[in-house]
């Protein structure tokens, strides 16, 4: 099959799925939007908006008006949806292909387990990061005009890099679930690890407030570094400071890629023998 054929097939499948699961897509656009707005407006139940903006400015060490605070809050909300969608999607795709749809033999006849797992770990995050963050285009454009659109594309780069690491990490989780455990509800694993990762990353709060156990779990994922990256991009643009979180994300990618390669290679040899 040509590259164009693969691309057409992918686009066709995503369009069909978008139509079929439009309710799910609306939910994954609405929920982070509500989270983003709630972070700014919920504290106003106890005080006025000026107090909240003052706390927000102190928290991020950057003076902010309502528009800036909303732009930052909504931008950070994207990490919630990207992590949830990437982890859930990769783990469940691998489980469904290997254990539910019965396509395991066809996959083995065509490619190696390694190639299939790595392709899923790369392709699903790339597609889902774009689709799950579409709500940011109108949200940031309304708040910041054309600058908002430019900001969205910068955020998309950061989120895509992060989702690739998460994709490979989820690929490892998926292989472990499928080939090394007897888990029958893979969604229960993916939906449990996602909020733990996120709550340990201090998305909207100073990281020193986060309990050590949660912080430690989250620190081996790209989430806290992506949060830092988003904050830097929104508040300062693509400056030199982004290099530190970018280097950590790149290191995590290398480590997880090697681990995913090794584990899936091992699985490939094992299943072909048996």
């Amino acid at each position: 099959m040509s590259i164009r054929g693969v691309f057409t097939a992918l686009v066709y499948r995503e369009v069909v799925w978008l139509k079929r699961f439009i309710g799910d897509y609306v939910t994954i656009w609405l929920l982070p939007s509500i989270y983003g707005l709630g972070i700014v407006f919920l504290p106003t139940l106890m005080s006025d908006i000026d107090f909240v903006l003052q706390r927000f400015s102190n928290l991020f060490n950057h003076p902010m008006g309502l528009t800036d605070a909303l732009a930052l809050s909504l931008s950070l909300s994207a990490i919630l949806t990207v992590v949830a969608v990437t982890v859930g999607d990769v783990v469940q795709t691998l489980y469904a292909e290997f254990k539910v749809y019965g396509s395991f033999t066809i996959i083995l006849e065509t490619v190696s387990v390694t190639a299939f797992v790595l392709a899923t770990s790369f392709m699903r995050p790339l597609i889902m990061t774009v689709l799950s963050t579409l709500y940011l285009i109108p949200a940031l454009s309304i708040l910041l005009g054309l600058t908002g659109l430019y900001l969205y594309f910068q955020l998309l780069i950061a989120l895509t890099l992060s989702s690739l690491v998460l994709g490979v990490l989820s690929g490892i989780t998926g292989i472990l679930i499928v080939f090394y455990t007897n888990v029958k509800k893979p969604w229960s694993v993916s939906s449990t690890i996602v909020p733990i990762m996120l709550s340990g990353a201090g998305v909207y709060i100073p990281i020193h407030l986060v309990p050590l156990v949660l912080k430690t779990i989250s620190s081996v994922t790209p989430v806290p570094y992506t949060v830092e990256l988003i904050q830097l991009i929104v508040l300062k643009g693509f400056s030199l400071e982004v290099s530190t979180p970018l280097v950590i994300i790149a290191m995590l990618f290398t480590a997880y890629y090697l681990a995913a390669f090794g584990i899936s290679k091992n699985v490939d040899v094992r299943v072909r023998k048996s």
């Binding site: 939910t27 709630g38 919920l42 504290p43 909020p195």
Partner: protein, 247 residues
């Protein structure tokens, strides 16, 4: 039957509790951190989260009965034995309420880790109001189970719309009834009442305890009746038109 269903759904219950607690933490810790008194804000938001959570659970259980269980013939099996969505939810209620209390306890414990406060702060409230708040959560679940049952029997919506429906349940729960210009309208959502009773037990409700108790005695039977009527309508619709498997 409830015990068998609980064993069948054990993994789902554990995942639901952990999911619920940590997603809530992501919202309530920053919201309370940005307010002048984090602990008071915590007491304001946690009851809302619990109310919303049980309402969502009712919606998802109704969805499960009318959508996913159809595939395995389990809905038919229940109906052949003269039972509908209402009976199905009644079976799961004790374990669901227990899971709700575990969620509250875990939410209290994890949130205490962020602010270094008493891990059982959530237990330090007026016992009567707290008991009422927790028990009315069962009514909330029955109401929303009946509503989901009716909606999915009446329309051709897919189950993914439950995610959108549950966003509406934030009215009066996560955003307290007293925050609205017409606060009593928020009680159209039964979960508002449970949330407000729990808030009153912590002394942070926008309503006085006596009118709230009076409202409870009037609204609880009303919610029960509406939930029962909706589930009866759902049963009638299934009997008349059948039920097609939809995801």
């Amino acid at each position: 039957m409830g015990g068998v269903l609980a064993r069948l759904h054990l993994t789902s219950y554990l995942a639901w509790i952990i999911n619920d607690v940590f997603w809530s933490i992501i919202l309530i810790i920053p919201a309370s951190y940005l307010s002048p008194n984090p602990v008071v804000t915590l007491k304001l938001l946690v009851p809302g989260i619990i109310g919303m959570s049980l309402a969502s659970l009712g919606l998802w259980i109704g969805t499960e009965f009318l959508r996913w269980m159809v595939h395995d013939g389990l809905t038919d099996m229940f109906r052949e034995n003269g039972m509908g969505v209402y009976h199905y939810i009644v079976c799961t209620l004790p374990v669901d309420l227990l899971s709700g209390v575990v969620s509250l306890a875990l939410l209290g414990l994890v949130s205490s880790g962020f602010y270094g406060i008493d891990p059982v702060w959530w237990l330090r409230g007026d016992p009567l109001l707290m008991t009422l708040g927790l028990f009315t959560l069962m009514v909330v679940e029955l109401f929303y189970g009946g509503l989901a049952g009716y909606l999915y029997a009446k329309t051709r919506l897919s189950s993914s719309w439950t995610g959108i429906l549950q966003i509406g349940v934030t009215v009066g729960t996560v955003i307290p009834a007293s925050a609205y210009p017409l606060p009593y309208l928020a009680f159209l959502n039964p979960a508002s009442l449970s949330a407000e009773l729990l808030r009153a037990s912590y002394g942070v409700s926008g309503f006085l305890s006596t009118p709230l108790m009076l409202l409870t005695s009037l609204l609880t039977p009303t919610y029960l009746l509406v939930g029962w009527v909706l589930s009866k309508k759902c049963d009638e619709l299934i009997a008349r038109y059948g039920l097609e498997y939809r995801m």
